[in-house]
């Protein structure tokens, strides 16, 4: 039975085409009606499809034909829905719809309105293709496509050099990740002869363990390279903080709620591969944990409100990666869902603040805004308690599930994770306190945002608070392998306590004792500067990778190799031929009398020669 799954991504694509072609000629109202309308229809189609397909015990597959066929290889155009995809579809279309609506208000006074909505629609198309794909190739199509949209939207304000540079950085860093992903695909084609989920995963199960270990580990690690790019993990996370150059709804949709979680989704989707590669799983978990900690420490020191939340996103993605890395796939996806709510809310809320302050993003120039923007304030606090893991709000459930699974895996992972949870609570509330408490430190009159912006905030706030009660892990049980072992509920108190402590410290530093924070920072000196400057990672990459490559290409390859050696040889051959010609040319003086002299001399020699030879006979 066909459910016409293709309509789900095709609707936003239609919106993209309409807005892309006609957008410049029609009014803003038409533009956002088309954009929101197509996404809303897509959302409704998801609901209709899922209700028709429930309870969705097994995957529902639809095949539309062959994309690429060569010899025995065949790559199909196939969409499929299982429970994992269902969750992702709801998150992407749901949160996407809310953010589309929010954008109407946020972008109202910006140029390039139609371009913005066209790109957002295009993003929805690729993201939905990514989650619906039933083989790695189609997943890769969506994977690259969302990267493209991310590039286009980060560089949306293309008059600003910093924005376009950030866009390039995002695309290129993601390309490095995609390099890993594509290599994993090639290895899969060679090993399994196919990229279909339905063929690869059973084949892995059947492989003998010894045979599987090497190649499956390699495939998993390469896939994970892809995930580090898209989901901003060490060492490829550097693009995400810069990506905040884009408009805030973009940061919320692409760089918080959906696209950056694609790596988590991909690993969860490929769990049959990863469970056969314990080494790769350990690498994934360790990197995830490390990223969570490092990004959280950077988040503590930043003053750009969006940068704080960007590092928070990196850190939270680290949690999710940790979750799937320790085998708690359901928990990782659960955190993905709740994170989509509260992080989208954090970004949209910060967008509302920025909107209220006409573009100001520096926390040091905010303060006392809770009187001016009450709705934004309340909703941001909702997001704050959710991300800080305060029970019974959404972050508490999902994060603790991950941490407990980590404890089961390796206890030290739990402790670092719990510490990070404390830091998380600290920096989020630091931002909230700096923004909404104390005295207003900026200029201009702050004002609350229009309803098209506040209503999405309220919707997301409700989801952030109550999202923890969504039965996502239970719903996903049939998809993923069961986790063995029992939870030690005592540990829950530890992480909650650390979270509350983080909030308390933030309140102590920024509400009760303003100025204390600066003194602490000053007393830490070098360490503080190291963290404040993001561990100088960008500078190290620049000096160690970018500069040598560009400089080496310019001097060594182009000037020396191409122009010097190769062209030198070519021109050298030409030059020697010319020299030889020049030598012979001396005979051809162009002077008639010298020719005549040559003739004369020649005749004389000929006659003498003939005489010596004994005359003509």
């Amino acid at each position: 039975m066909m459910e016409q799954l293709w309509l789900i991504p095709a609707l936003p694509l239609a919106g993209f085409v309409v807005n892309g072609v006609l957008g410049r000629r029609v009014s803003k109202a038409v533009v956002h009606t088309v954009a929101i309308g197509t996404v809303a229809l897509s959302f409704l189609w998801v609901l209709k499809t899922l209700s028709a397909l429930m309870p969705l015990e097994t995957a529902h597959v639809e095949r539309y034909g062959t994309w690429i066929a060569s010899g025995s290889l065949e790559f199909a155009l196939e969409f499929a829905v299982d429970r994992l995809t269902a969750v992702m579809l709801l998150v992407v279309t749901g949160v996407g719809l809310v953010i589309h609506i929010y954008s109407v208000g946020y972008m109202a006074h910006e140029g390039g309105y139609y371009r913005f909505f066209a790109f957002l629609n295009l993003f929805m198309f690729f993201m939905l293709t990514l989650v619906l794909a039933n083989n790695f190739l189609l997943l890769f199509v969506g994977w690259e496509g969302v990267g493209l949209c991310s590039y286009l939207l980060i560089g949306f304000y293309f008059l600003r050099r910093s924005a376009t540079t950030a866009g390039n950085k995002a695309f290129i860093v993601n390309r490095i990740g995609d390099f890993g992903f594509s290599l994993a695909m090639f290895l899969m084609v060679v090993t399994f002869g196919s990229l279909d989920f339905a063929k690869v995963f059973p084949a892995v199960e059947k492989m003998p363990v010894e045979a599987a270990a090497g190649v499956v580990t390699a495939i998993c690690l390469l896939l994970f390279v892809g995930a580090t790019g898209k989901s901003a993990q060490i060492p490829l996370y550097v693009w995400l903080p810069d990506a905040m150059e884009g408009p805030t709804p973009v940061s919320a949709l692409i760089h918080a709620a959906t696209m950056v979680t694609a790596g988590v989704y991909m690993i969860a989707r490929s769990w049959p591969l990863f469970t056969h590669a314990p080494l790769a799983m350990d690498v994934v978990a360790t990197i995830g944990l490390l990223t969570a900690l490092v990004a959280a420490t950077i988040g503590m020191t930043q003053f750009d409100i969006k940068k704080v939340f960007a590092y928070s996103t990196v850190s939270q993605l680290g949690y999710m990666i940790l979750g799937v890395g320790v085998g708690a796939f359901g928990a990782g996806i659960f955190h993905l869902v709740t994170h989509a709510f509260f992080k989208a809310l954090l970004f949209l809320g910060s967008g509302s603040v920025i909107h209220a302050l006409s573009g100001e993003q520096d926390l040091r120039k905010m303060g006392g805004l809770r009187k001016h923007t009450p709705i934004t304030f309340v909703t941001l606090v909702c997001a704050g308690v959710a991300i800080a893991g305060v029970p019974p709000f959404s972050g508490f459930f999902s994060k603790d599930e991950i941490l407990l699974a980590a404890h089961h895996h390796h206890p030290w992972m739990y402790w670092i994770g719990a510490l990070t949870a404390g830091i998380t609570a600290f920096y989020v509330f630091r931002a909230i306190f700096l923004c909404f408490f104390g005295e207003y430190r900026g200029e201009g009159r702050p004002h609350e945002s229009p309803p098209s912006m506040t209503i999405p905030l309220i919707v997301l706030a409700a989801l952030s608070l109550g999202g923890g009660f969504l039965p996502v892990p239970h719903f996903l049980d049939p998809v993923f392998p069961a986790m063995e072992g029992q939870h030690e509920s005592a540990l829950v108190f530890v992480s909650v306590a650390l979270g509350l402590a983080g909030i308390g410290v933030a309140a102590w530093f920024y509400v009760l004792r303003p100025g204390l924070a600066d003194r602490v920072a000053a007393s830490l000196g070098g360490l503080y500067r190291l963290v404040y400057n993001k561990y100088f990672v960008d500078e190290i990459y620049w000096a160690a990778v970018v500069r040598p490559v560009v400089g080496g290409s310019r001097t060594l390859l182009w000037r020396v190799m191409d122009a010097g050696v190769i062209d030198g040889i070519v021109n050298g051959i030409g030059g020697r031929a010319r020299d030889a010609g020049r030598l012979v040319r001396l005979l051809q003086s162009g002077n008639i009398r010298s020719y005549a002299t040559w003739v004369l001399l020649g005749s004389v020699f000929a006659i003498i020669g003939m005489g010596l030879a004994g005359g003509l006979r």
Binding site: G590, N591, I592, R593, A596, T597, L600
Partner: protein, 102 residues
């Protein structure tokens, strides 16, 4: 062949030929060079006629006519070219007529 031996004709012919070469090599004026060529041709004609007379055959004389015809044609074409060159260049010094060389 009463009196004048063959060698004398040949010596005269050689002298004329040498004069022609010398003129061709050392004069700069195109007309003079042209006349030197004619001189060489006639020197050769002289030896042809002398040999023809000596051996009693007509080949040499026929050759002489050929040479004279060619020389006449050459004179016609050559002088025309020289005239054209002089009209455009206002000079007949060979060293200055060198635009095809570079």
């Amino acid at each position: 062949m009463a009196g004048v031996p063959l060698a004398w004709y040949l010596i005269l012919s050689a002298i004329l030929f040498a004069l022609g070469i010398a003129g061709f090599l050392f004069r700069r004026n195109l007309i003079t060079m042209f006349m030197s060529i004619e001189l060489m041709l006639n020197a050769v004609n002289l030896s042809f006629v002398a040999f023809s007379y000596k051996f009693g055959r007509v080949d040499g004389q026929i050759f002489t006519f050929f040479v004279m015809v060619v020389a006449a044609a050459e004179a016609a074409v050559g002088l025309a070219i020289i005239l054209a060159v002089f009209r455009t260049r206002k000079t007949l010094a060979v060293d200055e007529i060198d635009s095809l060389k570079y």
